[in-house]
């Protein structure tokens, strides 16, 4: 039993090495990580353990896409790792290690679990790139009532209230002043003084140019 497993492992690693030395197969996806750009000072060093995590995460993605099929770390073959931290990988099928899972299936799996893959590495769609798999973009935040309508409503409300106040206030003042002199006359019957009213009557009339103008120009 142990012997069989050992044999299979040797075979798969030999097969993997074989795969890497050949040309890039069409089912491969190219991956690029930009850890320093994403994390700056808190960037971790990329090493074999991180690579193992990547393989495990991708196996997880394949498992959640194709339920029942138990992909393993050994099914994810990684090749051509560079100092940039970029490499390409293929997924070998469960039944036959020499066959590769198609691009479409791998893409679906990656898309479904993209968020989980990103969070495993503390990266984003832009810093963990799968070349060929465009990220689905988040829709821009759009509140139900556009905020500008609210501000517009507030401003217009204030302006109309101001206009009402400015137009109605002099009318009220006029009424009040009209009532006052009448009361004075009632109480003051001996003196026949007529209060000269020149304020309220003229409150709305401004800016009249000389009425003399009519005398001089005929046009």
């Amino acid at each position: 039993m142990l012997g069989k497993i050992f044999f299979l492992l040797c075979l798969s690693s030999a097969w993997a090495e074989d795969l890497c030395s050949k040309a890039v197969p069409p089912e491969a996806y190219y991956v690029r990580l930009s850890i320093k750009t994403a994390l700056g000072d808190k960037a971790y060093v990329w090493n074999d353990n991180e690579m193992f995590l990547f393989q495990a995460t991708l196996a997880f993605a394949m498992r959640s896409q194709f339920s029942g099929q138990e992909y393993n770390v050994s099914n994810i073959v990684v090749c051509d790792e560079t100092p940039r931290v970029s490499f390409w990988f293929v997924v070998t099928s469960l039944e036959d290690p020499s066959r590769l899972v198609s691009r479409g299936d791998v893409e679906q799996a990656v898309r479904k679990s993209r968020n989980r893959i990103n969070s495993a590495f503390l990266l984003t769609d832009q810093t963990l790139e799968f070349i060929g798999i465009t990220p689905t973009l988040a829709a821009p935040v759009a509140p139900n009532t556009p905020p500008w309508l609210i501000v517009f409503g507030v401003v217009m409300g204030a302006v109309f209230a101001g206009i009402l106040v400015l137009l109605v206030l002099p009318l009220i003042q006029k009424k009040r002043k009209k009532n006052q002199p009448m009361e004075d006359e009632d109480s003051d019957e001996e003196t026949q003084v007529k209060t000269a009213e020149n304020g309220p009557e003229r409150s709305g009339v401004y800016n009249m140019s000389f009425s003399d103008d009519d005398k001089f120009t005929q046009m």
Partner: protein, 629 residues
């Protein structure tokens, strides 16, 4: 100089010194007055300092040799701006009337100058308030985080952004598509864009409430609208100077290129800018100074206003260019880092192995070792000078460059609100003078019934203007605004300014004007004013007018359109105007300019006909008398 055209009847048309002093003592007449001198100065400052100081002067300064541009600007400020300013202040304060009243009093045949001022103020007011409506739209939209112009909308299958936004930029898309929904040509009106209608409504109602009782309400409003921009500019200056790359912008602005001084267009642009900056020939300044007490020192006012305008222009230009420098540096840095990423991706180099400092060396190394790969890479061209000089004038500055720069500053919504409140105040205070230049002549010409109160006159004017402004709410509105900007405010203003100077110096009489000033302020104006009024200022305005007409006549009428289908998108495409635009240009520029001679001609014909009729009737009466005898 004794050259004065005979002007009979002048003394009967204008009040004498005794009349004015008496009226002032008795406070007879319902003429409005300033509450205090500060209100008057603030109103004039607000009128002169407008949006153009933020988005036109800095561009002129930078494109005409930086610090060297200040030399022609300041020289022409003193030789052209100040004398014209004192002329308008003096004549308004002396004759105590608005623009139509003043010219009618000097000579009834000159009423056309006042009518032209009114028409120009109306046309400029229409498109200026549309700019304010756009500013209000951006202001209303600034109360959210993140700001709406930071994001592109997604396309249908959510894999990318809308193509128009992807190819241009989020701020371009927001301005041309979301705000204006601009069509591809001025022919294609494309229907009304209702958010702009709402903003126009709010702009006109704000103007209405501020000017509802004439200067008694607008005089209170200017305490805010004239002072707030200075405070906001100071805040932006402090913020701007602490941003990375600000000094690049300031250096770019002020680096002098003395060769530009030999170029005549530098002097022409400086002269035109001084003329428009002082809002001369709009009629508003004459109205404002007519509300002054008769012995107000208008010469001092003219000098103070000139100094304030000059200093504010330089101040605003500095602040603007700190922000422009910041944006250009940010863009340059991201351009370089994009190129670095391209290079390190292509050669699989570890991150941080190439930095901005060794990028050039690394590029050369790889170019020599592996030229084919390098050629195949898509490197962007990072040009700091180009970034500093792009889009830095007009609406492009405020709505595209500045909005983008604000999104990169921490706490963007606050800066956006501050910036657009400042632009709003600058625009509103200019509009107060504008609407004064429209409403007062309307009353003088008895277009509206005399017994209507000021509120009704202002209301009707604002309402009619709002209806006409719906022209700018169409999808092609932005092209109409540019058309108005180019033609309504250029030639007519220069013509009116020239006519004003000739009218006062040669028809009213410069000697009489000197006597008036001596009566009002206590001493006769010095030789500087005499020489500039008689020769220098009219000559400068005439030269600018002639050169402007010559260059306009030679240019083909083209305009820039936002066309996603054009070849050089996102650069705006240059398209010729349709032929019916010539009629519109004539209406905008020709009618106000021609109003001056046309009115005089009409009046001549009218008076001649009347005389003929009168003499015909007289001879009929004589004949009847002879027959009776």
């Amino acid at each position: 100089m004794r050259l004065v055209i005979p002007n009979p009847g002048l003394d009967q048309r204008i009040p004498t010194y005794e009349d004015i002093e008496r009226m002032e003592k008795e406070e007879a007449g319902d003429r409005p007055k300033w509450d205090n001198k500060a209100q008057y100065i603030l109103t004039c400052v607000g009128f002169c300092i407008g949006i153009g100081n933020v988005w036109r002067f800095p561009y002129l300064c930078q494109s005409h040799g930086g610090g060297a541009f200040l030399i022609p600007y300041l020289i022409l400020l003193v030789l052209e701006g100040m004398p014209l300013l004192l002329l308008e202040f003096g004549i308004g304060q002396r004759l105590r009337k608005g623009s139509v009243g003043v010219w009618r009093a000097i000579n009834p045949y000159l009423t056309g100058v006042g009518i032209a001022s009114m028409l120009v103020s109306l046309l400029i007011g229409l498109y200026y308030n549309t700019l304010i409506a756009w500013i209000m739209w951006y202001l209303f939209n600034s109360f959210q985080n993140p700001l709406p112009w930071t994001q592109c909308p997604l396309n249908d299958n959510a894999t990318g952004f809308v193509s128009e936004c992807q190819r241009s930029s989020t701020v371009d898309y927001y301005f041309y598509r979301v705000t204006l929904n601009s069509s591809t040509s001025i022919d294609d009106s494309g229907g009304i864009h209702w958010p702009i209608v709402l903003c126009l409504l709010s702009a006109w109602t704000v103007i209405f409430i501020c000017y509802i009782r004439g200067i008694s309400t607008s005089g209170k409003a200017v305490y805010v609208t004239a002072i707030l921009p200075y405070i906001v500019l100071a805040i932006f200056l402090i913020r701007g100077l602490t941003l990375k790359g600000a000094m690049n912008g300031v250096k770019f602005l002020f680096t002098p290129d003395v060769d530009e001084l030999i170029n005549p267009s530098t002097w022409l642009d400086a002269g035109a800018q001084v003329f428009y900056a002082f809002s001369l020939a709009w009629g508003g300044l004459i109205s404002f100074s007519s509300y002054n007490p008769v012995h107000n020192n208008c010469m001092q006012d003219a000098v103070i206003l000139s100094v304030i305008t000059g200093l504010t222009s330089i101040y605003a230009a500095t602040v603007t260019y700190t922000i422009i420098g910041f944006r250009a540096t940010d863009r340059y840095d991201s351009c370089i880092s994009d190129n670095i990423v391209t290079l390190s991706n292509a050669f699989d180099l570890p991150e941080d192995s190439i930095t901005a400092s060794n990028y050039e060396a690394a590029l050369n190394h790889y170019n020599t070792s592996d030229p084919t790969t390098v050629l195949g890479l898509d490197f962007k061209i990072c040009d700091m000078q180009k970034l500093l000089s792009e889009g830095v004038e007009g609406t492009g500055l405020a709505f595209i460059v500045f909005t983008e720069a604000i999104t990169k500053m921490p706490g963007s919504p606050i800066w956006s609100v501050l910036f657009f409140v400042m632009l709003l105040c600058l625009g509103l205070s200019t509009l107060f003078g504008n609407i004064e230049g429209v409403v007062v002549p309307l009353r003088d010409l008895n277009v509206l019934p005399k017994k209507w109160p000021q509120e009704a006159v202002t209301g009707v004017t604002c309402f009619v203007a709002f209806i006409i402004c719906l022209l700018f709410a169409q999808n092609s509105g932005v092209y109409w605004v540019t058309l108005f900007d180019n033609f309504a405010g250029s030639v007519p203003l220069l013509t009116i300014g020239l006519s004003e100077m000739i009218a006062i110096v040669y028809i009213y009489g410069i000697d009489r004007f000197n006597e008036d000033l001596k009566f009002m302020i206590g001493h006769k104006p010095s030789i500087f004013w005499q020489v500039s009024w008689r020769f220098i200022s009219p000559l400068i305005v005439l030269v600018i007018l002639v050169f402007y007409l010559v260059t306009q006549a030679q240019k083909k009428l083209t305009y820039l359109v936002w066309d996603p289908d054009s070849e050089n998108f996102p650069t705006m495409a240059s398209v010729p105007y349709p032929s019916w635009i010539n009629a519109v240009v004539f209406l905008l520029a020709g009618i106000p300019s021609l109003a001056v001679p046309l009115y005089a001609l009409c009046r001549l014909v009218f008076v001649y006909c009347k005389k003929k009729r009168a003499s015909g009737q007289k001879s009929q009466l004589d004949m009847k008398g002879q027959e009776a005898m």
